[in-house]
């Protein structure tokens, strides 16, 4: 049963990811991306990570992709032709990357390492609480660094957008 769900989600994710870059109409690409986000969330649910699934949809599907669509509509690009002469470069990179992946798959014969925490202990108190605890204890430093990065990006965006930022003071 688990395997059926996994292969369904994984298959749809692979197909829609391809469609995102293959479709000519950018709005259809965005829709394919939306379907992909939903199936990634479904994959999280099968792993008992409901919190991640919900956050995946709230953040990516609910906010980021809406902004993408917003920009696509504002620019009103019907079909995008500009990037279609990149095939040789993209093909070369694709071949290199896929050989790398295949080599890695052949060399790593060992089984995947077992999860550090058994699944039952994660489910018992609810994974939302556990994520919170882990984020603010074990992974406190990476968490704070990520917040700082986001803050810097935000300030950068504001400075780029507000051209008259220094003029008021003069």
């Amino acid at each position: 049963m688990d395997h059926i769900f996994f292969f369904y989600f994984a298959g749809v994710i692979a197909v829609t990811s391809l469609l995102v870059v293959a479709l000519r109409n950018p709005v259809y690409s965005a829709l394919a991306l939306l379907i992909m986000f939903f199936h990634v969330a479904g994959l999280y649910v099968t792993l008992h990570a409901e919190f991640l699934a919900a956050v995946q949809i709230v953040v990516y599907a609910g906010a980021i992709l809406v902004l993408y669509l917003f920009v696509v509509m504002l620019l009103n690009v019907k079909t995008e032709e500009r990037y279609h002469d990149q095939l040789p470069v993209a093909g070369l990179l694709g071949v290199m990357l896929s050989t790398e992946v295949i080599l890695l798959l052949i060399q790593s014969r060992t089984a995947a390492p077992a999860s550090a925490v058994p699944v039952d202990t994660v489910i018992a108190p609810g994974n939302t609480e556990l994520i919170g605890e882990v984020l603010y204890s074990t992974y406190l430093f990476p968490f704070e660094v990520a917040s700082l990065l986001l803050l810097v990006a935000m300030i950068g965006a504001i400075i780029l957008a507000k051209k008259d930022i220094g003029e008021g003071a003069q």
């Binding site: 709005v27 939306l34 919190f51 599907a61 609910g62 809406v66 939302t128």
Partner: protein, 355 residues
Amino acid sequence: MEIGLRLAVSLAQIAAVMGIVMLTVMVLTLAERKVLGWMQDRMGPMEVGPYGILQPIADGLKLFFKEDIIPSGANKFLFTLAPILALVPAMIGFAVIPFGPSMTIEMFGMQIKPFVISDINIGILYILAFASIGAYGIILGGWASNSKYSLLGGLRSAAQVISYELNVGLAIVGVILLSGSLSLVKITEAQAGGFWHWFILSMPFPQIFAFVVYVISAVAETNRVPFDLPEAESELVAGFFTEYSGMRFAFFFIAEYANMILVSCVAAALFLGGWNAPYPGTILAYIGLEHIAWMENVVWFAVKVYCFLFLFFWLRATLPRLRYDQLMRFGWKVMLPIALGNIVLTAIAAYFFPR
């Protein structure tokens, strides 16, 4: 057998909730016109049936038999998809709303919770996630119509929904901090025992500011007056659904009303104690009728939801529409700081006075 029975029970519950929601939408379309009429010293609809109470059925029949027009140059696929994308997320959120006390009954040898379809442990996040998907229906409908009014309406709604969704999410963080759970069932249970335990008033830190932010943002998120910029008829004809007719238009219409009911249910469950009565326990339990005490709880939930829905009509009759830059400035520079400040204060209060 077991799984089939469980599926049948779940489907029956879903059908019951959907039926109640659709019935409430019908009541609301009439109630809105009647309330607006009375507030403006008019009678409202009076022709169909006694006092016009059959008006929703007449409206439904009219929309059902209208010609379904797809404008030339419209993107047919997305034009068809958009109303469905708007309606489904609005209905799906009701799955985690507790309409009555969280009791279980034995039926066919199974434990059934009669008043909530599914008590998942991330209930409120589930609602937020699907509420954000509802925006796609509006945006894609606006884009696919191939009309500048529709496109402008869709773009406005995209920006508005993103801005105010953030405030909705931040406003409920305080409640989650106090209750220590994301499940709507557990949040409601944490507010039992009288109105002074409801999160809008409860110690250590009343969520009254969060409630105000939530109400305003909820009105904005459902595209209702005074935040109905996406469908401002004086500027954009009818906004994102200008080109829609017949049943497709009805889908957008039902989605808007279902969203209103959904945000009212969430407001009642999070801030106003859900199905808890404003006094400890229930009167029916005091006088010895414990087996039907759930009726009182359900009625209290309905009363709260309808009061909240009345507020929507009241606002529509009272307030003029905001200008678009005012709307954005209000969302980001007024509501967001209040919601963030509320989180900080609630966190401090919850740290020093753990419940």
